[in-house]
């Protein structure tokens, strides 16, 4: 496992690249992009090695190393280090793969842009931030990475800050996630406060998990802490209603969108929930909240994609919807399913975004109404985009198919265990999958089929010519394409039409690589893994399983055995249903659940679902083929894709039915009025009430207090100086001196030098003494 020791290099390389690019980038022949790509390639190779080592070894013990720690007061310390297990390795592979391809892609896509070097520096920093979060051994480091991710996303979404809407989008993304981050911080603090009663390493993730699994944290701590952390995850992972920033984040360059949506930003929330999963599963309340939020998100966000014309917004809402799937999966006990979907989604969503970027690059428009018939012009983009769409829609044998099936199976098992959210996720998940298929079908047909609808207006042509000249000035790499462009531009000047053309090799490499990845990444976690040469000892589940996850059980479900071997009181009556449908040993997991119902399998068995034999384990064992799920999903897919073909297959209909659904369309076009509600009830009150109030309290109240304190002190100082110092102290000193002088001027007369007078005084004194003594006798 020696490569695991060097996981920190994966994190350090992008940081190094970001720094080097920022300082020296402009001096380099390729403007710094070579540094970024070289660094991320190195990180990618190392990630693959780490990923491979953790994969073939099955569930590995997490490697925890602390590189730097600082006392925080008392016995507490702040630590920075690495925590490497299968989950970390999976994220490392995902993040570095997507980042590498995105950087390669950006070389072409961002060519000739202002701040090209800055862009690459930020991409590297973005990757670094996410890796810091991924590798964090404690929640504090995770928060650091989390916030860095937020910062980088802000900078990159606002990359075209010259236009105000883009800067606004960046602000919106930042403020929305920052609002959610309040929850994250509170949650982390609450959990650490609970841990602090048992351990000095209060932020440590493994310690938190151990204590939570041992039931040593109070219910309030766990529920409040996890729900607050989940609030943070909602913001970062775009769960409704905090998803509003995600579509607006499309204002950034397309590679950034791909990075945000696939690897480095929105996955953070899901990842963090997965990382602390054994804590989240302690209470049914928490699980239900996660499941309900997830299912709402997956179901309602999908519809929003139906009415979008901007291809990137379609993809953005689809991301929101898919994130809903991940959260819902986590909420119904589908730990593996959730992160499996996170993993596969990363690849095909990056593919889709990069494909849409390729299209946008070609037609200079985000709108599908400006595209159409693109498969003739851009065959490679077409094929890869279709592969990505199929994966997203869950077409059999693609990555999305396996992961979405896993989610539905998890929901089924959860329902069998008697949890109401199971069927909810199952049926709404199926419906959501249909919606997904439909809008992806609509997108693909609108973009690639029918006739090209590129704008023919003179104004647009002039713009195109300018674009081409701008490219020419910037010196586009591809000389042939450039010549072609110039010819077309000349053609345009004569009133002709500028046909889109296929992108260059760097964009296509990224597209093809991701399209190829979209298959094997799904295999590892799917039920066909055995068939294609894998083994149940080594699949996605065993890869991402940690020992804590293996031993984790749901305390609120039947069949729970307290870690000490005692039966859990409230559910003890129905224990012993574990591990019948799948053999935990076969899944490579060391089960501690008793294999059979011992004594109470009769009437109680029914209520705990004995036919399916629900295992009270987070892991479900190796995936199996579920015919019902498969058929339902496939039927849904076919219906949806058939419907999409019927409506959009022959080009863009005059009357797009999604835009004519009455009130529903109105609701969708207005995004369920969530943005308006947010504007009216969050932005406006904050801007018009809270902000002025805060400003007033700062400028008038606090400044007033400070000012009056300052004035008071100054006055006091004046009084002290003029009265106490000048008058009393100086007066005393001077008065003493003056009185001494005055007295001396009087008393010195006594010393007249007249001896006779002295004698007389002495005589008088003697007489006085004699009289005094005589009187005293």
């Amino acid at each position: 496992m020696e490569a695991l020791n060097y996981a920190w290099i994966v994190v350090a390389l992008p940081l190094l690249a970001a720094a080097v690019i920022a300082v020296f980038g402009k001096l380099m022949p390729l403007k710094g992009s070579e540094v970024g790509i070289a660094a991320i390639t190195g990180a990618w190779v190392l990630s693959l090695v780490i990923g491979w080592q953790t994969f073939v070894n099955g569930p590995v013990d997490a490697l925890e190393q602390v590189f730097w720690s600082s006392p925080m007061g008392g016995a507490f310390t702040i630590e920075f280090g690495q925590y490497v297990d299968g989950l970390t390795a999976m994220m490392l592979v995902l993040v570095t793969t997507v980042s590498m391809l995105v950087q390669l892609y950006s070389r072409e896509y961002m060519h000739g842009e202002d701040r090209f070097t800055y862009f690459f520096s930020m991409l590297a920093l973005f990757t670094f931030s996410m890796l810091v979060l991924v590798i964090a051994p404690n929640t504090l480091q995770a928060v650091v990475g989390w916030e860095l991710v937020g910062l980088c996303s802000y900078l990159l979404i606002g990359y075209y800050w010259q236009d105000k809407p883009n800067a606004d989008a960046a602000n919106k993304a930042f403020l929305t996630t920052k609002f959610a981050d309040i929850g994250l911080i509170v949650g982390v603090v609450v959990l650490s406060a609970g841990v602090a009663q048992h351990s000095n390493n209060v932020f440590s993730i493994p310690e938190t998990i151990d204590l939570a699994m041992g039931g040593q944290l109070s219910e309030l701590t766990v529920v409040l802490g996890t729900l607050m952390i989940f609030l943070g995850a909602m913001g970062k992972s775009g769960q409704m209603p905090l998803h509003v920033w995600l579509p607006d984040a499309m204002a950034g360059p397309t590679p950034v969108s791909a990075l945000i949506h696939a690897a480095t930003m929105v996955t953070a929330g899901v990842f963090f929930v997965a990382r602390l999963y054994p804590v989240f599963i302690q209470y049914a309340t928490v699980m239900n909240v996660i499941a309900v939020v997830g299912v709402i998100t997956l179901f309602f966000a999908g519809f929003l994609a139906l009415v979008q014309d901007d291809v990137k917004k379609v993809l953005a809402y689809s991301t929101v919807s898919q994130l809903g799937y991940m959260m819902a999966a986590l909420g119904v006990g589908g730990y593996t399913a959730g992160i499996f979907h996170l993993f596969t989604h990363g690849f095909f969503k990056a593919l889709l975004f990069l494909g849409s970027g390729s299209l946008i690059h070609a037609v200079h428009s985000n709108n599908m109404s400006d595209m159409g018939g693109m498969r003739k012009y851009m065959p490679v983009t077409f094929v890869t985009f279709v592969i990505g769409s199929l994966a997203l829609a869950g077409f059999p044998l693609t990555a999305g198919f396996f992961s979405k099936d896993e989610i539905l199976v998890s929901a089924q098992l959860w329902g069998d265990a008697g949890m109401a959210t199971g069927p909810l996720v199952y049926w709404l998940g199926l419906a959501g999958a249909m919606v997904t298929t439909f809008y992806m079908g609509r997108t693909v047909f609108l973009i690639f089929f029918g006739e090209h609808r590129g704008a023919h207006g003179a104004a647009h042509d002039v713009e195109t010519v300018e674009d081409v000249h701008a490219e020419a000035e910037a010196g586009v790499l591809d000389a042939e394409a450039e010549a072609e462009d110039a010819a077309q531009a000349a053609h345009d000047v004569q009133g002709g039409h500028h046909d889109p053309h296929e992108s260059g090799w760097q964009i296509l490499t990224a597209l093809v690589a991701l399209a190829v990845f979209s298959f094997p990444v799904g295999m590892a976690g799917g039920f066909l893994w055995d068939e294609v040469g894998g083994s149940t000892e080594q699949n996605f589940e065993t890869w991402t399983a940690t020992h804590a996850i293996e031993e984790a059980q749901y305390p609120f479900l039947p069949g729970y055995h307290a870690p000490g071997g005692e039966e859990h009181g409230e559910e003890g009556a129905s224990e012993g249903e574990g591990g019948e449908a799948e053999d935990p040993e076969a899944a490579g997991s060391g089960s501690i659940v008793l294999a059979s119902g011992e004594d109470l399998s009769g009437p109680l068995a029914a209520e705990s679902g004995d036919e399916e034999g629900f295992s009270n384990h987070v892991l479900h064992g190796a995936p199996e083929f579920h015919l019902d799920v498969f058929l339902l999903a496939l039927a849904g897919f076919l219906i949806a894709v058939g419907g999409a073909w019927a409506i959009y297959g022959r080009g863009r209909p005059e009357r797009d039915p999604t835009l004519h659904m009455g009130g529903f369309t109105t609701a969708l076009v207005n995004k369920y009025w969530l943005d308006d509600l947010g504007y009216r009830f969050v932005v406006v009150p904050i801007r018009d009430r809270l902000a002025p109030a805060v400003s007033w309290s700062s400028n008038v109240l606090i400044d007033g207090v400070v000012k009056s304190i300052g004035g008071g002190v100054k006055r006091l100082a004046n009084v002290t100086y003029f009265t106490v110092d000048q008058k009393i102290i100086d007066g005393g000193v001077n008065g003493a001196a003056l009185s001494a002088a005055w007295w001396s001027s009087k008393l010195k007369r006594l010393q007249s030098g007249d001896v006779q007078r002295y004698a007389g005084a002495m005589m008088a004194g003697v007489i006085v003494l004699v009289i005094a003594f005589a009187a005293a006798r």
Binding site: G753, D754, Q756, A759, G760
Partner: protein, 103 residues
């Protein structure tokens, strides 16, 4: 014979001397007044010795008076020398003029 006669005489002499010391301006007269006071003391010494301790062979009072006379002679010598020098410096023996030791 009683002590009253010599004591009255001595008191008289002492008072005259004291007056002379305090009141006279002439330095020489001041010196003389001091001699008067010393002699008044001498009278006392001799009178007390002979009238109270007449049978004492040691005659301490008289011997003490002799010492006083010797010391007075030396003192007058020094005093006159001072007066002499004062006269040489200031052409005056008025004691009011000798007030250098003042503020």
């Amino acid at each position: 014979m009683t002590l009253i006669g010599p004591l009255v005489l001595a008191s008289f002499l002492f008072c005259v001397g004291l007056y002379g010391v305090i009141a006279r301006r002439n330095s020489v007269l001041v010196l003389m007044s001091v001699e008067l006071m010393l002699n008044a003391v001498n009278i006392n010494l001799v009178a007390f010795q002979s009238l109270l301790h007449g049978d004492d062979a040691a005659v301490t009072g008289q011997i003490f008076a002799l010492f006083v006379i010797v010391v007075a002679a030396a003192e007058v010598g020094i005093g006159l020398a001072i007066v002499f020098n004062m006269f040489r410096n200031r052409a005056s023996i008025d004691i009011d003029d000798a007030d250098l030791m003042r503020w």
